[in-house]
């Protein structure tokens, strides 16, 4: 909210030595964050003076525009011996004799706009007649500013900025949703007075009188409108101008002048916080009825747009039909007409914030009024605001206030609240005396009584936020200042450290980063096209993507089902920046639409039942935490010493093995055909469970060349994706250690010839099983295929290391163990010892 300092100062009765900065600091202390203080004059250098347009000639231009060649009297600033300056002006909203603001040559206006005498449209234009926005006084550029003649006439040739309010400091305040009452100068002034220890005199103290239909008849036919005050003003001068002080205050608040009657309603809204609507009473037909819309009903609003209504919409109607969307926008048929309207009916009503919010959102009609209603308008201010409006029309436009007024409905009394007097001290952690509590709450307008160690509080009508005991605790905290609360570190004696899962997850990501992979955190939104690019199709759990109701873009309306989509995008971004050698990884959740159960919405008055909690949890889709990597380019870049080592399937597997071995898991691999991998270069990775079942943990290998091509990845790009949740579950718990044998090692090498299709792991596991307990370790050190072996054969050479736990092993024992290992391999895979 924008609020001029002088206005707050005036209503709060602040001493003149209080500066805008001091007030801003106090506001911030109580939760009214002052984002900015603007003083428009600070952005202007040079002279902007009051001038009077003596005469002008309209000159149509070739571009279809008409300019005015004006003679403007700027008093002592007139050229030597001349009665006026010649100035070209593009605006047409003034007449000869009007007073205007003239920026003289040499002035610099906001935005660095320098004014100079320059030739334009065939004249030397010696200065500029200013519009409001050109001086930084609001956004109005509908025409130049015509000044109020009575004041301006006395200041010809003198500084115009002072009468335009440009020296005013304007606060930009972030008003939080619970402080709706501060969306008014009155509310801000109350806080200002309280902050400086002054008693606040509310200019809107007149309460809403008892219901009466003495004035214009008003019928409330919807509970969404609890009260409605209607006041009539007759004989308003339709041509009365809006005084400069009002124009400049409205401009400071961000509203342009639209004619006196409308300006007065806006002015009162800013001052009181009560949105006001004015009707041209001569256009009203019969009683006003406030009711919900009937399906299919229409209204043409003030902006000239015909709108179709729904039963949710609250309407102001008369015998002619809808004449206003309550609290959102008035209807065109009863509009106040500048220059015509003399009979005005003033509406100051309460409307339900939720109903109103739905309507203005549906119609995209946010306004200063709807914003205030949504935050909650003071239920007790309506009549006083209407009256203030009527009085301003009387003062400024000679209107006569009808003594008979209407008040429909009643002001509801907000609920009182009782709580132990010790609560504020106990929650805030600082001792606050009961006298202090009573004085703070009274100054905030609360009617408070203290008896039996209990405080009973009745909030004022404008404090809709004061409901529960903690609301009062907050009020006291803000008024004593958060800074006065001491700093105490609590003793939490319940911690058991990170969970095993959290520790293991950290271990894994650290290990793969150390192994040369760079972590990325990508956005989790995907399109089905991206999944198709990975050859993922219906039937695959990774195709069961969760769709967003309101995606940020329709191209990526789903949540990721695999981390590979994000890694592909990140890889492409890197290669587009000529970063070609990549080993990227990500650890994060993916989403599989495995549950279609709706999620319950239990109440909030107490803990949901266990069944409800279970239903809440189980209704959510599966969100496994995955660990994935993508590699391309060189694993080892070419160097002065070695040629490049291209990233290949072995490095994808290395990623998986680093992740597994750091957890103490021995991964088992087997060939697999899974998208998006190369069918001959994909390993399924897993472990055998205690009951012999193979548990798949993920896949690794080279990507399918079609996938690589479709996704624009470098050739031979490789990838791996593991289910990290499942992987962590396989991590063995620490087991007993064995004593380390100190006896000598015996090495034996064997080369075995098998069919090319025989997986190495099959040979290896047979050797392991056959060698017995003497085998300490085994390593594959050569893979060979060639003519000597024959077509379809390969040779696998293993080095076997034998050691006895308790004595030196004999050569014969080692050989026997080796032969047993080979025999087992032969039995399992048909392996033949190579000659």
């Amino acid at each position: 909210m924008k609020a001029p300092f002088s206005w707050i100062q005036e209503l709060a009765g602040l001493p003149s030595d209080v500066t805008a900065q001091q007030l801003a600091a106090e506001f911030t202390r109580v939760g009214l964050q002052v984002e900015r203080i603007d003083t428009p004059a600070d952005a202007i250098t040079g002279a902007v003076v009051v001038g009077q347009v003596l005469s002008f000639v309209e000159e149509p231009q070739k571009n279809g525009k008409t300019i005015r060649w004006c003679q403007v009297d700027v008093g002592t600033h007139n050229p030597m011996g001349a009665p006026a300056r010649g100035i070209v002006c593009g605006a047409l909203n003034f007449i000869a004799g009007d007073y205007v603001a003239v920026a003289l040559a040499g002035a610099v206006l906001p935005g660095g706009f320098e004014i100079a005498a320059r030739k334009t449209y065939g004249h030397i234009s010696d200065g500029m007649i200013c519009a409001a926005d050109e001086l930084g006084l609001g956004s109005d550029h509908s025409g130049i500013m015509v000044l109020d003649a009575t004041l301006a006439a006395t200041l010809l040739g003198q500084d115009a900025l002072s009468i335009l309010g440009a020296y005013e400091s304007v606060f930009e305040i972030d008003v939080t949703p619970d402080m709706g009452y501060c969306l008014s100068i009155r509310g801000l002034a109350r806080e200002a007075a309280q902050a400086f220890g002054l008693e606040f005199r509310d200019p809107y103290a007149t309460p809403v009188p008892p219901a009466t239909q003495a004035g214009y008849p008003v019928l409330l036919a919807s509970s969404n409108c609890p009260t409605f005050s209607a006041l009539s003003v007759h004989g308003v001068d339709p041509n009365a101008p809006t005084p400069d002080w009002m124009v400049s205050r409205l401009a400071a608040c961000g509203t342009r002048s639209l004619g006196l009657a409308i300006d007065v309603t806006n002015y009162v809204m800013y001052e009181s916080g009560q949105p006001i609507h004015g009707y041209d009473a001569s256009k009203l037909v019969g009683s006003i009825v406030v009711r919900q819309a009937v399906p299919g009903e229409h209204i043409t609003t003030l902006d000239g747009i015909a709108r179709t209504l729904v039963p949710d919409d609250l309407l102001i109607t008369d015998d002619s039909g809808p004449i206003g969307l309550a609290g959102v926008m008035g209807g065109l048929t009863t509009e106040l007409d500048v220059g015509k309207t003399t009979e005005i009916l003033i509406e100051a009503a309460q409307f339900d914030p939720i109903t109103l919010g739905r309507t203005y959102r549906r119609l995209a009609l946010a306004s200063e009024a709807s914003r205030r209603f949504e935050r909650g308008v003071d239920a007790g201010v309506g009549f006083a605001a209407g009256l203030r409006c009527a009085e301003l029309l009387r003062e400024l436009a000679g209107g006569v206030i009808d003594a008979a007024y209407t008040v429909a409905g009643e002001v509801t009394t907000p609920p009182t609240c009782s709580f132990p007097a010790t609560l504020p001290s106990n929650i805030l952690g600082v001792e606050i005396s009961i006298d202090k509590v009573l004085s703070i709450l009274s100054a905030s307008g609360v009617t408070v009584t203290f008896s039996d160690e209990t405080l009973t509080c009745a909030p004022p009508t404008w404090r809709r936020d004061l409901i529960d005991s903690y609301d009062y605790v907050e009020e006291i905290a803000q008024k004593i200042g958060y800074d006065s609360i001491p700093v105490v570190t609590p003793q939490a004696n319940v911690g058991r450290g990170l969970t095993r899962e959290q520790t293991l997850r950290r271990t894994v990501v650290h290990a793969v980063a150390t192994a040369g992979f760079t972590e990325v955190l990508t956005l989790p939104f995907v399109g089905l096209a991206e999944l198709s690019g990975l050859h993922i199709s219906a039937g695959d759990v990774r195709y069961r993507a969760v769709r967003l109701a309101n995606p940020l873009s329709e191209e990526q309306a789903y949540l990721r089902t695999t981390l590979l989509t994000g890694l592909v995008a990140a890889a492409n971004r890197n290669t587009s920046r000529s970063l070609d050698d990549l080993a990227l990884f990500e650890s994060g959740a993916v989403f599989w639409d495995t549950s279609t159960a709706p999620t319950p919405l239990p109440g909030v008055s107490g803990r949901p039942s266990d069944a409800e909690i279970t239903a809440l949890y189980q209704s959510l889709p599966a969100q496994p935490h995955m660990l994935a990597a993508l590699l391309c380019g060189a694993w080892v870049p070419p160097s002065w010493q070695t040629p490049a080592v291209p990233a290949d399937w072995t490095h994808a597997l290395r990623f998986a093995e680093v992740a597994a071995t750091t957890l103490g898991i021995e991964l088992v691999r087997r060939a697999a055909t899974v998208t998006p991998w190369h069918p001959g270069r994909c390993a399924e990775l897993g472990v055998f469970s205690s009951d012999g079942e193979f548990v798949t943990l993920g896949y690794a290998g080279e990507l399918h060349p079609d996938v690589v091509k479709t996704l624009g990845l470098p050739t031979r790009a490789c990838a791996v994706e593991l289910n990290l949740d499942e992987l962590l579950m396989q991590a063995p718990h620490a087991s007993e250690v064995r004593a380390l044998s100190q006896f000598p090692l015996t090495k034996q090498d064997v080369a075995l010839v098998v069919d090319t299709a025989t997986p190495a792991v099959a040979v290896e596991s047979a050797l392991l099983a056959g060698a017995g307990d003497l085998l300490e370790s085994l390593a594959l050190f050569d893979v060979y295929s060639g003519a000597q072996l024959g077509e379809g054969k390969k040779s696998l050479a293993y080095s076997l290391r034998f050691r006895h736990a308790e004595r030196t092993l004999t050569e014969a024992e080692a050989t026997a163990a080796r032969d047993a290992a080979v025999a087992a391999a032969t039995a399992a895979t048909g392996a033949v010892l190579r000659a």
Binding site: Y470, G495, A513, L521, V546, V604
Partner: protein, 375 residues
């Protein structure tokens, strides 16, 4: 190895058992040996000299063999004479050998000199994302204080994200302009807008007292630009215990600030509004770069706090009793505090990063800048 001939002095005496090992002869042989050893300059010539002057067929060995030809009463003296000569030669040899070895090693090492400024071949180092590093650091600080780390799903039930946290059915945060909902809307599922639902889960699942932090991804229907991401990270904390006060909240926030930014850093709280806390506040961090000294000091502006002295960090407050009640907690006995801050933002102002998009683009150069850690 070859040895130049001129380096090996000629042995003048042929082997001859008739040699008489008298003092003059022994002296002559000793002199010749010492001279020969002194004349060597590498291990090969030294070995040759040793062979020629002390080997089995050397004149000295001959002379030793000739002792038997002497009369018995002269044998002892002659033996001593030769023995002394032999020890002198051995000492000279050892000394020369040490010198030659040192020289030869020095020459060998010199010849082996490499350019140590050549790059080391091998795979590039990997790196952890700064968000991961910061989340770990923050979690460690709280674990050290006796708190635990709670986690929960990113796709969450609307009830846990909003209702249980005292968001009314028409609270603006629930609008589709702010929150990413799962299709269809009637399924009442969404992408969590904060990690607070994890706190609700903690209150539903754990025994009191509860001291937990919940780090993780959160989602908003925000534009994607330099200062906004639709996905970012939060760390929220929740303490529910008997006798919890706002003073404990201030203490905890200061503790975190000091652990992350230095012992002289503190926080301040400004009143604010959140549905789930009452009283509520915003947390500002004393600028860890200028310590507030840039305020009103235009000659020394501070880029980190924009010369405001304080950096907006997060939100906090006393847990609204309605939230505790929705979790079945006795609000007469228990009270709590909660706080939360953006992790991406924390990394951003700590590192002076200018564009949040770099956090999610995956450019490998980004992480590399945080190889030394985030703090």
């Amino acid at each position: 190895m070859s040895f130049p001939e001129n380096t090996v002095p000629d042995v003048v005496m042929a082997p001859d058992t008739s040699v008489v090992p008298d003092a003059a002869t022994v002296q002559t042989l000793l002199d010749a040996a010492l001279q020969a050893i002194a004349a060597t300059n590498d291990s090969a010539t030294l070995a040759a000299a040793k062979y020629q002057h002390t080997g089995d067929k050397s004149p000295l060995a001959m002379a030793n063999g000739a002792i038997g030809n002497l009369p018995p009463d002269e044998r002892r003296a002659a033996g001593q004479l030769i023995g002394q000569a032999r020890s002198q030669i051995a000492a000279a040899f050892t000394e020369r050998a040490t010198q030659i070895t040192a020289v030869e090693l020095a020459a060998k090492l010199h010849a082996e000199t490499v350019d140590v400024t050549l790059p080391t071949p091998g795979h590039r180092p990997g790196a952890l994302h700064p968000i991961t590093q910061m989340l770990e650091r923050m979690a460690d600080i709280f674990v050290a204080m006796g708190w635990e780390v709670a986690e929960g799903p990113e796709l969450e039930a609307e009830w846990l994200n909003f209702d249980a946290l005292n968001f009314t059915p028409y609270h603006p945060a629930r609008f589709m302009s702010d929150t990413l909902f799962i299709d269809p809307l009637s399924s009442h599922k969404l992408l969590r807008t904060h990690t607070s639902p994890v706190q609700i889960r903690a209150l539903l699942e754990r025994e009191l007292p509860v001291y937990v932090v919940s780090p993780g991804k959160v989602f908003r229907a925000d534009e994607y630009d330099a200062t906004h991401l639709p996905v970012f990270h939060q760390l929220e904390g929740l303490a529910v215990d008997k006798g919890i006060t706002m003073a404990h909240l201030r203490g905890t926030l200061d503790q975190l600030a000091q652990a992350l930014f230095g012992a002289d850093i503190r926080t301040r709280m400004r009143p604010h509004y959140f549905p789930f806390t009452e009283p509520s506040g915003e947390v500002d961090l004393l600028c860890f770069v200028c310590h507030g000294e840039s305020v009103g000091n235009p000659e020394h502006p501070c880029r980190t706090c924009r010369s405001e002295g304080w950096i907006e960090w997060g939100g906090c407050g006393i847990v609204n009793p309605k939230v505790l009640a929705a979790c079945g907690i006795d609000t007469e006995q228990y009270s709590g505090f909660a706080f939360g801050m953006g992790v991406d933002r924390t990394v951003m102002f700590k590192a002076g990063a200018g564009d949040l998009r770099e956090f999610v683009e995956g450019d490998v150069r980004f992480d590399a800048q945080f190889a030394g850690g985030v703090l």
